[in-house]
């Protein structure tokens, strides 16, 4: 018996046969993850369809990120913020007008102004060494190397000696006025 078929008919017939031949599998207990994903897919369908019907309506698309991915992103953001806070702290500390001792992380000479009876000097020795000195009437002077330089630079000054005024040594340098005047523009 002859029949008339188009390519479309034949393809359709092929798929009908294929689907009819599929053995019915026992339906498993679907995972919670699958159920969650399907629910999300139905929500996505809903929002896409609504957008299609009314383009003027703005819907916030449901998040397509899994819980795991969102968690990872959050951790990355927190670590990033902590890093940025650290960088900001370091930047601010270094820009303070005083000395940050790396050994103890104490900042000295913040907003250095000479107290009453003291004079305030600033000068440079060589390319790097910047010294801030505060002198009183008894020729006792405190020298603070600026941030980024160790206190050892002060010992390069002739006839100076290092003293300890606290457990955080050395922060104080004692020397005579005449020695200092060689280096400071008094």
């Amino acid at each position: 018996m002859n029949k008339s078929y188009s390519v479309g008919d034949l393809i359709s017939l092929y798929y009908e046969n294929e689907f009819a031949a599929v053995e019915e599998a026992e339906l498993p207990f679907f995972s919670a993850k699958h159920k969650r994903k399907m629910q999300r897919i139905f929500n996505l369908f809903e929002s896409n369809k609504a957008r299609m019907n009314s383009p003027q309506l703005i819907f916030s698309a449901p998040s397509q990120l899994s819980l795991k991915k969102r968690l990872i992103f959050n951790v990355i953001i927190i670590v990033g913020l902590a890093f940025m806070a650290g960088c900001a702290n370091a930047l601010i500390s270094k820009s303070l007008p005083g000395t940050a001792y790396s050994d103890f992380m104490n900042i000295f000479g913040y907003n250095m102004h000479a107290s009453e009876g003291y004079l305030h000097f600033t000068t440079q020795i060589g390319d790097k060494r910047v010294i801030t000195a505060v002198k009183d009437d008894d020729n006792i002077e405190l020298i603070f190397p600026k941030s980024g330089y160790t206190s050892k630079i002060n010992t390069d000054v002739p006839n100076t000696e290092q003293t300890e005024i606290s457990e955080f040594s050395p922060i104080c340098i004692e020397f005579g006025v005449e020695d200092l005047s060689d280096f400071l523009d008094v």
Binding site: S6, V7, I11, V22, M38, I41, F45, A50, L57
Partner: protein, 182 residues
């Protein structure tokens, strides 16, 4: 305001329709995926991917007559199951060894008078074609999808969809003519 509210109501009903289709036919969907993949997890994935493809393009879904929508999803699930299986077994889909020059918009799908025996032979020939090619031509011929829509549903480029449809039609037509000439 009223039209917006109606749109939302319509959407809700249509959404229900999609989830209803899922609920009512999940056994068939699962069986189709499982028959190829033989793995419950992979079958789950195939169903998810198919529904995701539908959800992304609701306009295509609603352009298909209601009585054909389940078949439409069946075809997508089957195609995705083949893709997953091929990926898992590192098999690249056979590409037609035809020259691009054979692609011709003028290919027609006029009716051919065939005997049942000839029909069975053609169905066997169709079976030998790559799954992606069969799915593309099925979506084109029986669901009336445009190449762009086929590309989006099958996750391929528009050009690839066009080539698949053209090559499949050309090969089937050629085979039908060969049979008629025998």
């Amino acid at each position: 305001m009223i039209s917006s509210a109606l749109a939302i109501l319509e959407t809700d009903e249509e959404r229900k329709e999609l989830s209803d289709i899922y609920e009512s036919n999940i056994k068939t969907f699962y069986s189709i995926a499982f028959s190829k993949l033989h793995n419950a997890q992979d079958a789950e994935d195939a169903i998810q991917e198919a529904f995701l493809a539908v959800a992304k393009k609701p306009d295509i879904f609603f352009s298909i007559p209601a009585n054909k929508r389940v078949s439409y999803i069946n075809v997508i699930i089957r195609n995705i199951a083949f893709v997953i299986w091929n990926k898992k077994h590192r098999i690249s889909e056979k590409t037609a060894v035809l020259d691009d020059s054979i692609i011709d918009d003028r290919i027609t799908t006029e009716d051919k008078v065939l005997s049942d025996v000839q029909c069975i032979r053609i169905l066997k020939f169709i079976d030998s074609l790559p799954e992606g090619m069969k799915a593309a031509v099925h979506l084109k011929m029986n669901f009336g999808l445009k190449n762009k829509d086929i590309a989006e549903i099958l996750g391929i480029s528009e050009e690839a969809a066009y080539k698949r449809v053209s090559r499949a039609l050309h090969q089937i037509k050629q085979y039908m003519e060969d049979i008629n000439n025998e």
